[in-house]
Amino acid sequence: MKEKKVTQRKFAVILVLSMVMMLFAGCAGEKKKKEEETLLVPEDTLLGYTYSEVYTPYQLSSCDVKVEIVQPEDSELMVTKLLAGDSDYDFMMLSTDSALAADILRTGAYYSLNDVPEAAGLLDRYHDYIKEAATAENGDIWMIPCGVNVSFVLYREDVCEEYGLDFDGMTYTEFLEQVEALPKNGEHTFFTPYGLMTADITSKFEQVYGYEDMSQQETELLRSYMEKMRAYDVPFNEGKWWLLSSEKRPEHLSDASMKNIAFELERSDNMSLSVSLDYFRIGGFRATKLPDLEEGVVCPSGVRVDFIVINPKSDKLELTLQYVSQLCEKLQKDTTTAIRYMSRGEDFSNNVLREDIYRLISEGEVYSLYPYDVVGAELMAYREGKQEFDVMLEEIQRNIKMFQEE
């Protein structure tokens, strides 16, 4: 019997030891005090940027309701909160290209804002394709669009004239021919994140041809583009951008280096449209639609809309609705931030670049992407040379079929 006693004593020692550690851990946890009038917004870092970045200006100036950013780590926790019907958060900020947005609409995990008059008033101000995206089939207003994002080709007019580059209404083949014809290391920087273009090409193919019934001819076209992109798709830090002049793109764009950028495929997020995109300040830049796939096939540029969706089970519902109506009022009269790009009948004659972007957005259409596992992962595998093109295509078609019919 003695021997058993020794082992038990040993385990008792560890247990006491770790309990002491646990007490230390337990009490170290901070106790959040629950103020009455703060609204809680879960911010999922995977879904892109945060509510606070977009909406702190509004927060300070107008609405008297305080908003606090709550931190669930990843989308699995967000999905659990949605499914479990948690009431400890009040609304969520998502973007239309994430699969979670489509699921929320389909399952009805939103609080319909029909009875908030300002919401309807705000939606009338938007372009009609954004208005449609914000109303569900049964006519409920399920979200409040509050940010927009579009990809475009950004080029300096004078430099491109010098090299005879013409970016209006071009197709990918023309774009690539022009890029190849440029001098290898002239003193201008032609910066093109090809990785972004590969993703754009595949989503355009999906928009125009759809992955299921791609004919042999289209697959050949897609293969040629992807092959080219892979050849140029050199990661940033390796500095082997034969297109670039000797110095790499510096970490932060100081004014000096901005002047000699010839063209850049820029994916502008909502923030940059209104505040920090340096290109506006320097001037001399123009924006145009991303190249089309083929001669006759013109497809509008994809626009990603960021929106707020109210948690139907939130315990501070009236406060949230009051905040949302104040917010809609504010947005309706807003003339400073990105809302102007989403509203009809705005004029940007003072700045040519803003006017181009406004035209792109007004003729755009809301696009949504498949989850990363479905298309993105296969695309990445192909770009890193780990998978053949045909294998990647089959895999993508199989994943899409499985995703839809599961």
Binding site: K4, M19, M21, M22, A25, G29, T80, D86
Partner: protein
């Protein structure tokens, strides 16, 4: 002659089973031996020797050590409480006679079969309503009442004859004394086996830690060692090696009492 062949075959099998563990231990000391991109070892033979994995894990991310102690506490307390709850229940199942016993036992097996993933969300809702979320209890309570060890211990207790119980009934009336004095020493090896098994299961738990806990200081180390938690794969290898040692110690204790138990076999 047959004995030698058996020994050879067994040691070959043992080597095969030990190969992955050897690879893990050896590569946790290797230099750039892990191809981060597609989560694979670059080559079977490690190149060079460096403690960079351990240095990163233990010194660079020193907060991981708190999670180690959390793991020790969770696995330790869950196992002890689980055994404390399951032994009486198994004893009752094997000894007591009441109408619905078979049905109840079948129900235990059914609940045991339910994969964890299914009951994650309802448990999340239950814990949220009990205000237990994001506290150590969220992990400990549901696991303490796992029907699995009750099922195992009942199967072991089925082999006991009734004669022991009648003999014990002459002296004492209290059920607990009978159980503790007579039955438990008999099944010492089996209870230790279940102890090792339950400890190993809750030592490597990942799903519960992800969903029920949000504060980093409360998460067990097994939660961090899963992929996608911010640790590089070489750190995960080093962490796995450190994470294996406590259970190996536990198993060594069990191995001893198992040998004692098997002595009586004298096959």
């Amino acid at each position: 002659m047959k004995k030698v062949v058996v020994k050879m075959m067994l040691s070959l099998c043992a080597l095969l089973f030990l190969l992955p563990i050897m690879l893990t231990v050896v590569h946790s000391f290797g230099v750039q031996s892990v191809d981060e991109g597609n989560f694979r070892l670059t080559s079977l033979v490690p190149s060079g020797f460096s403690l960079v994995g351990y240095y990163d894990l233990l010194i660079e991310h020193f907060y991981v050590l708190r999670n180690f102690w959390n793991s020790v506490f969770y696995a330790g307390s869950i196992t002890c409480l689980n055994i404390a709850v399951s032994v009486p229940a198994a004893y009752a199942f094997s000894q007591a006679r009441f109408k619905g016993k078979e049905l109840l036992f079948f129900f235990y097996i059914m609940l045991m079969m339910m994969p964890l993933q299914v009951t994650l969300l309802p448990n999340y809702i239950g814990l949220r309503d009990m205000k237990l979320l994001d506290t150590p209890l969220a992990i400990v309570l549901p696991s303490v009442f796992a029907p699995f060890s009750v099922f195992l211990l009942t199967q072991y207790m089925k082999g006991l004859e009734q004669s022991y119980v009648e003999a014990a009934l002459l002296e004492t009336k209290s059920v607990f004394r009978i159980m503790l004095q007579m039955i438990v020493p008999q099944l010492r090896t089996c209870i230790l086996a279940v102890f090792v098994f339950v400890f190993a299961e809750y030592w490597n738990m990942v799903e519960q830690a992800d969903i029920y806990l949000r504060r980093e200081t409360l998460k067990p180390l097994s939660g961090l060692l899963a992929i996608g938690e911010g640790l590089t794969t070489s750190e995960v290898l080093a962490g796995s090696v450190i994470f294996m040692i406590p259970i190996v110690i536990l198993y060594l204790y069990f191995h001893d009492s198992l040998e004692v138990g098997l002595e009586s076999m004298k096959l």
